[in-house]
Amino acid sequence: MTARQWSVLLAVALLAVIAGVLVGAVNISWQGIGGALTGNDVGEAALIRHLRIPRVLLAFLVGGALSVAGASLQALVRNPLADPYLVGLSGGAGLGAVLAIALHVGGPWAVPLAAFAGSLGAVAIVYRLSVVAGRRLDPHILLLGGVVVGAFAGSLMSAVITLASAAELRSAILWLLGGFGMASWPAVAVFATYAVIPLALLLGSARGLDLLTLGEENAQHLGADVEVLKRRVYLSVAALTGAAVAVSGIIGFVGLVVPHVMRRWGGPLHRQLLPAAFLAGGAFLVLSDLLARSLFRPLELPVGVVTALIGVPVFALQLRKSLR
């Protein structure tokens, strides 16, 4: 990627964040923003400080994390269709969340923690299935195992939703659609702190991911410790995605579409692709959330609906272009 492309990307990310803070369910004034920045804690300023800004930041972090996870996973399984949710995570997370809702587990963090536990449980099963003969991590089994474990968890989830009572059923379905309604400073802080390690591990694996796209044997010949690399990448992707599900539910298409677009735009080298995907994914999710909360205000659309409505046409256009 050229310096000019980086400046465009940074500008887009910055503008998305600014737009995200300026536009929302409630119209705000410049005085309000000034107040929020200078520590004013009443009325409009408080709303910006405690609702709007953490929401925008969380959307940016989650969008970035999902895009980096998607780009890495696509290299790991050498399949451009891989979505971070495909490795069984979404089903596991959904099952955890729905169980917590149906069993009335108390406490403000019950649902996110249950979702996180559920996604880690699904990851553990898929991982166990994929490490054949105790040694190699087979990327194909990773994908297939992810699909079947996800489907199994999804069926259990549907059973729980059917057996739970009506009000809970509705809230569970809405929770699964995803969104940033529960964004708060503690959520931003927890996610940001937590995401540093898997993000750093993936960035550090950038050269290994480049080699992996040449095939495992070639990568091995070129000096990559392929088995360690694959495990590190898979577990980092799972950890990132699980945390994203925990704070925002299941938001599709970000981790699939953004890496595609950035690969075509900035080239396939992961040392550049991963940071670029982080910025672009963050901007994309911030703007999607902006539309979700302001299109029909005060009503709010699930953000996953917006990412799909934008992501699918973009993805289709990319497919057409790549066929030419």
Partner: protein, 268 residues
Amino acid sequence: MPIVAVDDAGDTVRLAAPATRIVSLIPATTELLFALGLGGQVVGRTTWCDYPAAASQVPNLGDGLQPNLEAIVAARPDLVVLYNSLQNVAAAARLRAQQIPTVLVNTDRLVDVPRLARLLAPLGGRAEAGDSLARQFELELDRAAVPGTGPRQAVLILAWDQPPIVIGAGSFLSELVSRAGARNAFDDLAAASAPVSLEAIASRAIDAVLVLGDSVPAFARRAEWQSVEAVRAHRFVYVPAALFSRPSPRSAAALRVLAAALRAGPRP
């Protein structure tokens, strides 16, 4: 002389004689049938039909959201009462094809209580009970109403907190709040309930938060809800959930309880 009624889907239902075996798959109509003195004729109900206590003696035919047709037919009803929803229209067509008279009704507003009393009572052969219940209900509701003088306090009614779903003007809860002399903070939304941004809640003036229950709701401890002044300050008005679960003949009593709670003001 056949009994003829037009249900809320616009279909005409004809009974050769008053129904003696009624399946009621809506908690509101089950309660209403018992109030009309038709409880002895009810042979099927939903899991959620919890009032009056005698209703629990009636066989439970499921959650009522997706009617179990086999269970309904097995109860050998001569009248089935279903909620007027899209999937129930298909269920009603199949029941009618088996010569089982079926009515589809809406039970969302206070006005539905007297209206359905007058619709259902004749089908069970107690037309005069329907009339008297309806008149009594309307009278009691009028008596319990608090005329709004001066500015009305704005009351937030939440259907769910994560994601936030508020009660809109289409719900009987909104009607109860306005008859109690206050107003629903989201009465500009026509729907019975709608998912809204937390920002929208935080930016509205809210004098009290209605809590169906008797303890501080769990969401009041969540970080993002601290932006809603009324939640942070625990301006909660508590009312017993059981009285407010559906529009019913007890809604006049619910209105009295609500008006008293609003008059007493929030208790932290």
